[in-house]
Amino acid sequence: MAQAVASPESMSPAEGGRGAFKLRWTDIFIVLGVILLIVGAGGMAQRLTQGLAPTNLTSYVPWGLWVGFYDYLVWLEVGSLLTFTALFYLVGMTVLKPVKPVVLFTGFTVVLMALIIVLLDLGHPERFWHVLLYPDFGSMITWMVWLHLAYLIVLALELGLTLFGNERTEGLMKWLSYLSLPMGLALIIVSGSIFGVIATRPLWNTASLPLMFLISSLAAGSGLLTLLVVLFWPDKQDEQYRQIVQRLARLTSVLLAGGVFAAGVIGFTMLYQGSGSPVRAEGINLILSGPFAWSFWIVHILLGVIVPLVLMISMPRRPLMVGIAAFLSTVTFVAVTLNVVIPVLVTPELEGLSTAFVDPKLDVNYVPNMMEWMTLSFIFGLGSLFYGLGLRFLPLQSRHQEVNHD
């Protein structure tokens, strides 16, 4: 491998010597992380001292904001890594090599955030190890936890080999990447199956839900990959860069459009009430025209699908526009997971139950409160700080500059 032509920007502080500490644009993640940590500290303190009591979760709406964000992060992490690994190893798009470390590190960070969120959503987080010690493999959550932890290990190994490996470890790296493909697929399918197997919730209980999770995950992950390429590609003047961005924009567009098409077909089928389930139709209607319909129409459809598609299709060779489109698509996908989780649960299973014994925690209405958002802010702060520190102190960008200058 050629010697790095290390620019001051790419050097770690140690490499740059004393007094050469310069701010990089990636330090914005550190700053953002600190801000989010400060903003969210109160929520996290409440969570740690009072458990789930201060949340707006109830016994009838047991999952809410945090589970929605957990699924969103799983979609991002697995989707981006599946897309990258498939393109890199299966399609042979090895030109993506310069962003490989940062893609893996992003996925690793997102996995950690997802696991922290789901840990805090437990009534007894200190007992998480019970899933390892007393697993019941008839439960989708058991599979999810095991797969997630295994995925984390594989990802950590991949990241370690990418950052600190050499030519001799290339083979192992390749096999780990191949291994991550079925693991990632399984993780996404299991995440969807957690909802899909619940017979009593008609909107979830469809065979198509796990597949929709996969399509959505690939669309969201492809958007994230595109964004990472736009953000971290070493030589933005390179024609190859524009070509890669164009190809990724095309892929993301196809996945986005395909996902919306598939969801539309399923949705229309469910809405048909001639022989369908009224409860299922009620759930769909709640998403389409309920009090939070704006999150579906404006956040997801307009900002997450239409605007990105217009930008990516009309200006595929303008990385800035593609980057904005990818950012919008990636960020707004959370509206989808929240709309998967919450509307189903706020649809009562037995009419009249919430007025049979009145208590704030026996209510079918749910809107996440400030404490839940603050706790989420704290976790995103942790993730952002970790990410920013990684970008500064790990050879994530300098390594790809070496490669690029080979």
């Binding site: 009591a53 007992r127 019941d136 439960s139 037995l350 049979a356 925690k361």
Partner: protein, 311 residues
């Protein structure tokens, strides 16, 4: 059914023959005798509850005297004791709720809260009130909703740690110590019969003003005291289980094992809630669930609830 063979000696004063004595023809003399016996041994009433199951009368007693009508509670108690003589795997507890008799008094709900020392936000047996129709053709119905103790419980296989399971008598139990609080079982229950214990207490915002009011420290002694679910002792301390766990009705299993009916059955003023061993062909519940006017909630899901409704 008579009590001929099972009446206890006069010296063995029980709550039942104490009350019977008060109400009966020889009320005064019996009452005096009973009070004397109680004065000698004030724990005698409690001691009755601690008798072993084997000593319970196997036949129902009539409060109106020998040969009189038998209260269904007495009949069910006798049947319960009979069932307890069998190996546990041969019992199949079921509950039958006669919706025509339920008056919506919520006594069952409250007795359940008291029996299991349920904190705020936790309820095992709410009573749903339904109204339908258009005036003047309207109807009103009260539907108590305990845990259905399904034969195919959707809540059991989804638990990632096996913290909920069906015991050999058919009651779906919780292992509080193992439960991680993921609440997957709550989403899976078609009857919303599981709830989360968020850790609240009724007295948590009460002030302390010693000598002026019964402040928090004293007032919450009651709710801090242990409940006895699943035959164990769960004092309410900090964030210990069952705080943070999923909780549910268990047919007052701890009472059943001591020969007592579930609290909701005992307190039902209309005798609308029946309980017993469906494997006993002579039991009241076995006869009731064979009636044509019996139904179960959401049968289309195939959960096979063990709670039946008479309509």
């Amino acid at each position: 059914m008579t009590s001929k063979d099972t009446v206890k000696p006069a010296s063995e004063v029980t709550r039942r023959n104490f009350l019977k004595g008060l109400m009966g023809g020889a009320g005064a003399a019996a009452a005096v005798a009973a009070f004397e016996a109680l004065a000698d041994n004030p724990t005698v009433l409690l001691a009755q509850d601690n008798n072993s199951v084997a000593n319970y009368p196997a036949q129902a007693l009539s409060s109106a005297g020998e040969g009189g009508p038998v209260d269904v509670l007495e009949r069910m108690r006798a049947e319960l004791r009979r069932a307890l003589q069998k190996p546990s795997a041969e019992r199949r507890w079921v509950m039958v709720i006669d919706l025509r008799k339920c008056v919506g008094c919520h006594a069952c709900t409250i007795s359940c809260v008291a029996e299991n020392k349920l904190p705020p936000g936790v309820v095992y047996r709410p009573v749903i009130e339904e109204e339908w129709g258009t005036y003047p053709n309207v109807g009103r119905r009260f539907v108590p909703r305990p845990c259905m103790q399904c034969e195919n419980p959707p809540c059991v296989p989804v638990c990632p740690v096996g913290a909920t399971y069906t015991n050999e008598e058919g009651i779906v139990e919780m292992n509080y110590e193992r439960c991680i609080g993921c609440r997957y079982c709550i989403t899976a229950c078609p009857y919303s019969a599981r709830v989360t214990d968020f850790g609240f207490t009724y007295t948590q915002d009460m002030p302390e003003a010693e000598g002026l009011i019964l402040g928090q420290a004293q007032a919450d002694d009651y709710e801090r005291a242990a409940n006895f679910e699943y035959g164990k002792s769960y004092p309410r301390e900090g964030r210990n289980s069952p705080v943070g766990n999923a909780r549910k009705c268990h047919f007052c299993q701890h009472r059943i094992l001591e020969g007592a009916l579930p609290a909701c059955v005992t307190t039902c003023i209309g005798r609308a809630t029946l309980f017993g061993d469906a494997n006993d062909p002579d039991s009241l519940v076995a006869k009731m669930i064979a009636r044509p006017n019996v139904m179960r909630l959401r049968e289309e899901l195939g959960t096979e609830p063990r709670v039946y409704y008479l309509v």
